[in-house]
């Protein structure tokens, strides 16, 4: 027996996280590796489990709206919206026209802001630092708009049950138009930085391929699902609010790899800008909030309502027993399933690909842990 045969090989177990620059918060991966190649991944979650659902059980409906803000802080408006929509379905409420349009404007602006964070962090995870700062530069414009509307930069508490919290200030519309005018050029800028960058393309093409059947079976939604070629967008397929009144495209790609997920989100940013522009054009005058009683008691019932968030399907399952507080609020975020599917599509790739896949899935941990 020669020397080399006597050598033993061990499984190389690498613990990545919970504090790691590219796990987008506090996710932990236990990687079983062979050199640089990943043999198995096990995501360990719960490092940001804040018991939001337990908290919701002891709050009134008005008090829950700020709690939902923290459910998915990159798109707080969507969280407010998802919850408000669920309660409105429960109570069969009529929403004033102006509020509907304001909601659409806010949701789409928030989608752009969220995609800009994704754009920055994706580039950062692949080692390019400058796009991160470019993304955040434009995001500040949107945050300014939100700030002048509701006074906060991140947790808005703006969309309430029955409408929106207050009307927009007068400077909002011109400022917003100003932003939309520069925004397309900005997206062109981003694309020049990354889309045809050779290194970016070889890092992303054919990495983390997610076939459509697998994507649906694992419950993947949003841009990740559309990148696999499934034309599924709740804004079209299960219209909520007044999305059926707007003219916009639903971009899809075919391969379902990281590069396609990138392309989809870039296109979505342009589409969102289009929707905002239409909504600003059509914005009617009038009330911004339906009459909601101070002590709000929706009728007893249960509802699961879902909206298309920037990360996929965001659902709120609310049970009311007719009192001021809900019996159960279950929050469902798109990242939950997208993180779940990562082990499936990472096996056999390198550790650097795990980072790319994680970034392209745009997983954000509070949605998983709540």
């Amino acid at each position: 027996m020669s020397e080399i045969d006597k050598l033993q090989t061990e499984e190389f177990v690498l613990n990545m996280g919970p504090h790691h620059p590219s796990t987008h918060g506090v996710c932990r991966f236990v990687l079983k590796m062979e050199g640089e190649v990943i043999k198995d991944v096990e995501p360990v979650v719960g490092y940001l489990h804040r018991a939001l659902e337990k908290i919701c059980e002891n709050r009134t409906y008005a008090q829950i709206i700020p709690v939902t803000d923290r459910f998915e802080y990159c798109t707080s408006m969507s969280c407010n919206m998802a919850f408000a929509l669920a309660v409105e379905k429960l109570a069969a409420m009529e929403i004033p026209e102006r509020a509907q349009y304001l909601r659409i404007i806010m949701l789409e602006l928030n989608r752009i802001a969220s995609h800009l964070i994704w754009f920055g962090t994706t580039a950062l995870d692949l080692g390019a630092i400058t796009p991160f700062l470019y993304g955040f530069r434009e995001r500040e414009f949107i945050l300014d708009l939100f700030e002048m509307t509701c006074g906060q930069r991140l947790t808005y508490n703006y969309i309430r049950v029955g409408g929106v919290a207050r009307d927009i200030p007068t400077q909002f519309v011109p400022k917003c138009r100003e932003f939309l005018n520069i925004f397309d050029a900005c997206v062109d800028d981003y694309e020049r930085l990354l889309t045809e960058n050779v290194i970016f393309v070889v890092r992303n093409k054919n990495v983390g391929v997610l076939p459509p059947e697998k994507a649906i079976a694992w419950g993947v939604s949003g841009p990740a699902l559309r990148a696999s070629g499934v034309k599924h967008d709740l804004r079209r397929d299960d219209p909520y609010c007044i999305y059926d009144r707007f003219d916009f495209e639903i971009p899809t790609c075919q391969n379902g790899d990281c590069y396609d997920r990138y392309i989809i989100r870039i296109k979505e940013m342009r589409e969102s800008a289009k929707i905002v522009r239409q909504a600003l054009d059509k914005l009617p005058e009038g009330e911004t909030r339906a009459k909601v009683k101070m002590v709000f008691k929706p009728p007893a019932g249960e509802v699961y309502s879902r909206i298309e968030n920037s990360r996929g399907e965001m659902g709120m399952y609310v049970i009311s027993d007719g009192s001021t507080k809900p019996v159960r609020v279950k929050m469902r975020g798109g990242s939950y399933n997208q993180l779940q599917v990562i082990p499936e599509i990472t096996r056999g790739h390198k550790i650097a690909d795990l980072v790319a896949i994680m970034a392209s899935m745009d997983v954000i941990m509070p949605e998983v842990d709540r």
Partner: protein
Amino acid sequence: MDREQLIKYIQDKFPGKVTLLDCGRVEPFFKVELGFLKEFCQAIRDDTTLGMDYLCNIAGVDSGEHYEVVYSVASVKNKIRFDFKIFPERENPAIDSVIDVWPGANWYEREVWELYGINITGHPSLKRFLLPDDWNQGHPMRKNWDAPDFVRMPEN
């Protein structure tokens, strides 16, 4: 397929095993018999008219008197969505795992197991999920759960 048609279709397809619950205005809610769950899921996924290939959500519920597990399913192809519930027993609650039907159910079931203490038979890895590894204070989402450092919101 609208609400009425869907209710009729499902009730005709699974007579006796599935009953309609009056708890939603928009999507229909059904109650599924405890032992029938896996079969039912398999059937609604493979049925061509329904084709519920997409699992939106699984939520455990403790209403105070009984446990419920709510499944929200959708069809990407046929654009249908509905929910159904099953009611595990109060003592030693247990349900079947539906991972074979929708692999995405994995974590949802782990969560139900951990936070509500509802056992999932047939689940491959029922390990600690959201709570700390050394957690020993029971299942916190149950209504009657309490712990020394758990501060309730004061009523005002």
